[in-house]
Point group: C2
């Protein structure tokens, strides 16, 4: 009995479990253009609404992974460990973690993505440094890794092409928000990196695709299960995304903030999350015996300047202007700045994180449609974060803009993002949970 | 705030009610090619799995109806009444009802469809008569109606183009089986006919798209509600499709059986259903005061030969060979015949209706893919129906075929369709229910 695309769609529509053969057939057919996007879109919506079993999720991950090349980095004489975030607002940890982990003796082959929806993209932020190339061939990627232990690049055509095609379709058809599809998409790309271990930063809260802790923990468990099934040491940290991470939102602004962390400064929440994540990377990679020891190693590598030096080296190897790393004031700057004043005296009780992210996109910092150019200079700098006191008229944030029309669209969103109350809320913990539970 | 296709998909995906503006926007966008089929397919699957409210179903029907022309037959001096069936195996009532109702003084502007899945199509059956044209312009359609009171035609480009486009997509994406979409698709085309009243024949059972009575009643209530909201007198009969209707399955075979009913002969279940349906058509059209009176009028118009004469006239006006109506032996004939013998003595306890329909398609009587040519001659003639006694070796049915290869594919399905037991089952009623309940 031959498999038909229609039968596969109907089977999932009716809530039944698909076999490995059926998932392989459907994925391969769509990647090769034999199954049209309309059929794939109907199937994706059925998956979003009916879900996948653990077995189906594993089969889908495999089908995506083996649709392309899997890197073999076994010749490099150090543990290969990556970190991946599910995406949030103001998340610039990759620029700290890649050189920090490499400075501690790990290889970090980081394949990252572009901005999506209201969240920024690591590649867009990285390209705020003039000259940086993220489109390395696999052989050049390997050379950079051999030289400095880390590189941040985009997925090449060879990496998980089935995911690349399906991802664009999901983005257009309202089928992004499925824990099963999120897991398969992320894990297929990460497993293609040829890594030994993976630390997942799963964002939970108003600025994440996963608004509720339970959703975040569901995705985290799926991904950890998938990674371990493939023989990779994997943990997931559920981390706070109820307000932007750090103070800067926007491409060059975020890069500058990451550099300040590498120099031993920067906002406390961002610094603390980077140290937590690198502690896990060192522990999974076998460089230390405990996460606490790993965190201490991370702190020391920042203090000594080794992490910063490694970042500088990586930027240079990827063609970037190293002077901008030394003097972040050389990074692209917006022409206009506008302070948003607090309407009253009190405490910041919440910051609508998704609204801040959308405002940054509207300013030009992200893409409203695929193929839009990204303005590296614009963004928002927060002066007050949740639980901090503020006086009436004192600036809550400063908007960096290049177009009055864009500012007019973004301003109302930003003004409405801040809630000021009389009582400061309990401060949230940056790491809410570790999966698997210890 | 402008509407986006993505927002409409997401809203339905999350189980929320769409506004009239959102449904209009989405339908118009897809019909005009601005919203790609991949987005429409994702939306359709969300509709299948989340359902539509009564209000949404009404908006969707309107959007499809007003995507094209609505015929104005008000100048014709008689009530305009149509019958529509949701599709089954061996359903040839249209050929009896159109001339029979017209002979009783109604105008029957019947826009029909092609074969779909395992069910045959009225237009395919009608074209078994050499020369018949079902592609009439709206003005020629009106002329035929003026002359003989009835015509059976295909939908022109002007009728509900939004439904035509969406229907092809549903067929390819596993999104046919939704009561809400079925209702909107049927009712938009029927309301475009400019009718005053409509009798719906909603099939329930193994040979219908609606296997269970509750599903059939759900669709029936949706359609009756939609028809009445538009000011049309509408009733639905839930009728038996647990075995083929009549004895003949296949295009020319079914047409010949309809002709024999028009001549006062034919199998009892088919004859009885035609009389029931036309009784309702006469009553809704105001030609009689009660359905019983309408049934008596129908029986009399068959007995007198007026219904047959009207069929003959309609065929002639549509360019068909009238001699084939007078002598159905002139209709296309298959080259080979094969009897299927009963393996044992007993009673027919069930006939797998969908399997018989599929077998007819495999013989060439229907389309496996869009655009396939249909063989008018092939099909299956049942000699035994449910509850009838049979002796071992006695023929259950005769297969009419033109290709040994096709016969080889169809035969196992047919052999497995008949179940023979020791005790005859209770005979089912041909009309199971009338909606709205009286």
């Amino acid at each position: 009995m031959s498999i038909s695309a229609l039968d596969v769609i109907r089977k999932k529509r009716d809530g039944n479990e698909l076999s490995r053969e059926e998932i392989d057939f459907f994925l391969r057919g769509n990647t090769q253009g034999e199954i049209p996007d309309s059929q794939a879109a109907a199937w994706l919506m059925a998956v979003v609404l009916r879900g996948l079993t653990v077995q189906e999720t594993a089969c889908l991950t495999d089908a995506m992974l083996y649709s392309g090349e899997v890197m073999d980095l076994s010749a490099l004489p150090a543990p290969k460990v990556d970190k991946h975030s599910t995406g949030g607002v103001g998340d610039k940890t990759s620029f700290v973690l890649a050189p920090l982990a490499a400075a501690g003796g790990l290889i970090v082959p980081m394949i990252s993505g572009r901005g999506l929806g209201h969240t920024g993209g690591t590649l867009d932020k990285y390209e705020a440094i003039q000259g940086v190339s993220v489109n390395l061939s696999l052989s050049r990627f390997r050379e950079v890794l051999e030289t400095c232990g880390c590189a941040i690049v985009g997925a090449t055509e060879e990496i998980a092409p089935a995911d690349r095609k399906l991802y664009a379709l999901r983005n257009a058809t309202g089928t992004v928000e499925s824990p099963f599809l999120i897991c398969a998409s992320i894990m297929s790309k990460k497993l293609a990196e040829g890594i030994d271990a993976l630390v997942l930063d799963v964002k939970a809260g108003s600025g994440s695709f996963l608004k509720h802790d339970e959703d975040a923990m569901h995705v985290a468990r799926l991904m950890v299960g998938t990674g371990r099934r493939m023989g990779k040491k994997t943990v997931a940290l559920i981390t706070d995304m109820d307000q932007p991470l750090g103070c800067n939102v926007g491409n060059a602004l975020e890069l500058a903030e990451a550099i300040s962390v590498l120099r031993g400064r920067g906002p406390e929440d961002l610094r603390q999350l980077c140290v937590e994540l690198v502690g896990w990377m060192f522990q999974l990679g076998g460089r230390v015996d405990s996460v606490e020891e790993g965190k201490r190693l991370g702190i020391e590598l920042i203090r000594s300047g080794e992490a910063f030096d490694r970042f500088r080296q990586m930027v240079g190897l990827q063609g970037g202007d190293v002077k901008a790393v030394d003097e972040p004031s050389r990074l692209p700057k917006a022409q206009g700045k506008l302070d948003v004043a607090s309407p009253r005296t009190g405490y910041v009780t919440s910051i609508q994180c998704e609204a801040i992210g959308k405002a940054s996109v509207l300013l030009g910092g992200g893409r409203e449609s695929e193929g839009d150019a990204v303005d590296p200079a614009v963004g928002i700098v927060l002066h007050k974060k949740v639980a901090q006191p503020v006086k009436a008229g004192e600036p809550l944030c400063t908007i960096h803009y290049n177009s009055q029309a864009r500012l007019d669209r973004a301003l109302p969103l930003i003004e409405q993002s801040f809630e000021i109350g009389d009582v400061p809320p309990e401060p949230g913990r940056i790491v809410r949970q570790v999966i698997p539970e210890l």
